[in-house]
């Protein structure tokens, strides 16, 4: 799409409210811009190093294929380790000048005029990552990325594009964080994922914001014939509000997608988190699995939407909530929408408290009530993602462990 056309559509959608979530006055935020790209991870300050580690980023780069770090709106590191043939990690701004074809991917999965946040994202400067696995490249080690907001009263505007080309395999782990000292900030993140024929992409994201941050990510994925997309998302920190509803379009026959999420709600935070799976070709399948724990006075809305646009398709929604405070709330909103004969859609949603029987059982093994409760909750939030490489699974486990230690 032409730039002027995008601008025009974005301008028109400038005040378009989002379908879900509290409305945010975008005029309160200015775009922060800062310059200076780091040449190496050794230049990270000690406190930044700790911060990125908390969201699963390994500054030693021992077990990764590549790394990307962005502070506010300036990318400071984009690095591919030498041995990784067929992997590309670039700041998006740089990639857009380098590759003309990228114009076809920019704002293709996510419409620029979806709402005021996508519009705003286009109308101000943005950066983010471009990660690509070339055709048939199997990148077994994950690519790690980290997006940090450090400026007060500011807007972080990220646009990411990921392409897993035909027959490739790519694993990405992304951590997003704000240090606790930052006052009022807004994170807008556009992510567009393209999984080509028979490619396999796993995307793992861990969020750790502070209680003065609003977060409005917008992401969408297009999966072609025989492709697989697995997304796992964990948010375990308090924040002011988050609203996100990633959409996955299974466009080609036999395409498959699984979306997993874990939300640990605390303080006065508001979480409106969902996922949509659109089955657009025969033999496509997938599931949306979410687990929510609400403590303090947090409010969680867990949405899941399955849309069957083609026959011979199958998808499932699982949505479980654990409410452990009377001041908190969980609303599970499962939606099934079948528009073709032979679309098999199902859901299961539960909300409850820590079971008395489970508690007694664990206490009878010598744990005190607090230890038993914490063990049940830790078990409940454990994000078990089948088929995830062990390195990634342990990154998630570790990030969840660290987050819970901070909050419990």
């Amino acid at each position: 799409m032409k730039t002027d056309e995008l601008r025009k559509r974005a301008t028109e959608a400038k005040n378009k409210k989002a379908e879900y979530g509290d409305d945010i006055d975008l005029d309160e935020y200015s775009l922060s811009s800062d310059h200076g790209r780091m040449s190496s991870l050794d230049d990270l300050s000690e406190s930044d190093r700790e911060l990125v580690k908390d969201v699963g980023f390994d500054p030693s780069e021992d077990k990764v294929a590549g790394s990307f770090i962005q502070f506010d709106n300036e990318s400071i590191l984009a690095d591919v380790l030498m041995a990784q043939e067929g992997l590309e990690v670039l700041p998006l701004a740089e990639a857009l000048t380098k590759y003309n074809f990228l114009k076809d991917y920019l704002w293709n999965a996510v419409p620029v005029d979806a709402d005021k946040y996508t519009a705003r994202s286009e109308l101000v400067d943005y950066n983010g990552y471009f990660i690509r696995a070339k055709a048939r490249a199997r990148i077994e080690m994950p690519v790690q990325s980290c997006l940090i907001m450090k400026k007060d009263q500011s807007l972080q505007n990220v646009h990411n594009i990921v392409i897993a080309e035909e027959g490739s395999e790519l694993h990405i782990i992304t951590g997003c964080a704000t240090p606790s000292s930052v006052e009022q900030s807004l994170h807008l993140g556009i992510s567009e994922f393209y999984v080509k024929r028979k490619a396999r992409l796993t995307f793992t994201m861990v969020h750790r914001w502070n209680e003065k941050t609003d977060v409005r990510p917008r992401s969408a994925t297009v999966v072609e014939e025989g492709g697989t997309y697995i997304s796992s998302y964990a948010i375990l920190s308090p924040l002011r509000s988050i609203q996100t509803f990633p959409k996955v379009h299974l466009r080609g026959r036999n395409a498959k997608a699984d979306l997993y999420s874990v939300v640990y709600g605390s303080q006065n935070s508001v979480y409106d988190i969902g996922g949509l799976l659109s089955l657009e070709a025969p033999k496509t399948q997938g599931k949306v699995v979410s687990r929510s724990i609400a403590t303090d006075t947090s409010r969680i809305i867990a949405r899941g939407d399955l849309v069957g646009l083609s026959g011979e398709t199958k998808a499932r929604l699982e949505c479980d909530g654990l409410l452990i405070s009377s001041g908190a709330s969980i609303r599970a909103v499962p939606m099934l929408h079948a528009m073709a004969e032979g679309a098999e859609l199902s859901h299961e949603a539960t909300v409850g408290k820590v079971g008395a029987e489970q508690l007694s059982y664990l206490m009878s093994r010598g744990l005190d009530e607090e230890e038993a409760t914490s063990l049940i909750i830790r078990g409940f939030v454990k994000l078990k993602v089948p088929d995830l490489p062990p390195a990634l699974q342990s990154s998630i486990d570790e990030a969840i462990r660290l987050s819970l230690e901070g909050g419990m």
Binding site: L362, G366, E398
Partner: protein, 256 residues
Amino acid sequence: MCSNLLETRDLRVEVGGVPILSGVDMAFESGKVYAVLGPNASGKSTLAKTIMGLPDYKVIGGDILLEGESILSKNISERARLGIAYAFQTPPPISGVKLEDFICRICPDYQCKAETDHFMSESCMCSHELYEDFDRLGIGNLAQRDLNDGFSGGESKRSELFQVLSMRPRIMFLDEPDSGLDYDSLKIVGRELKAIREKGDVTLVIISHHRYVLEFLEVDKVYILKNGRVAYTGDMNDIPVLEEKGYERFLAEVLG
């Protein structure tokens, strides 16, 4: 001289407002083996669950003494730490908690000594002896599974027995350790119980309504409960008679 490890005195218990135990006096000595028998709904499980301190079992009269001290004011964890253990009949599933990790957590003996070498992963919390012991009870296949999640009847019994043993209790209550077991599982459980008896450092209370598992080990004392009371106290020799006659006739005859 009183050598009782644990005793109940005139113990009266209600569950949801319904009286279940109406004055139970029982005594358990250190290192001995007891069978608590009785027809369905006689209060056998209630007795064990009350001694463990489970929340729905309300003591409305009498006392439970451990070495002469009342434990009524102690909660479940405290009782567990005092050395009381209860193997559940149908343990609840705990998702996200692996059996092996749990056992290493509740039993320091199995914890890996070289823990500091592996700061990241949970899988090195356990030592090798654990797996050998798992194999002895035939539950090696459950090690990586979530606790009680989808365990079969026999698997549950063996895993419960394993956990309760790991805690090194002073007195353990096994709630129908033989129900739902196939012959092979029964043999494994029976052999394990026999080994415990031979070591003689733990008091074993086996709750059952038949004799299967009791064929594997010598029982010092048999209590028969009926309608929430101890109807008869006897020994090993009563068991075959009991099996032949059934509770109804047996009790009618011995009680005249």
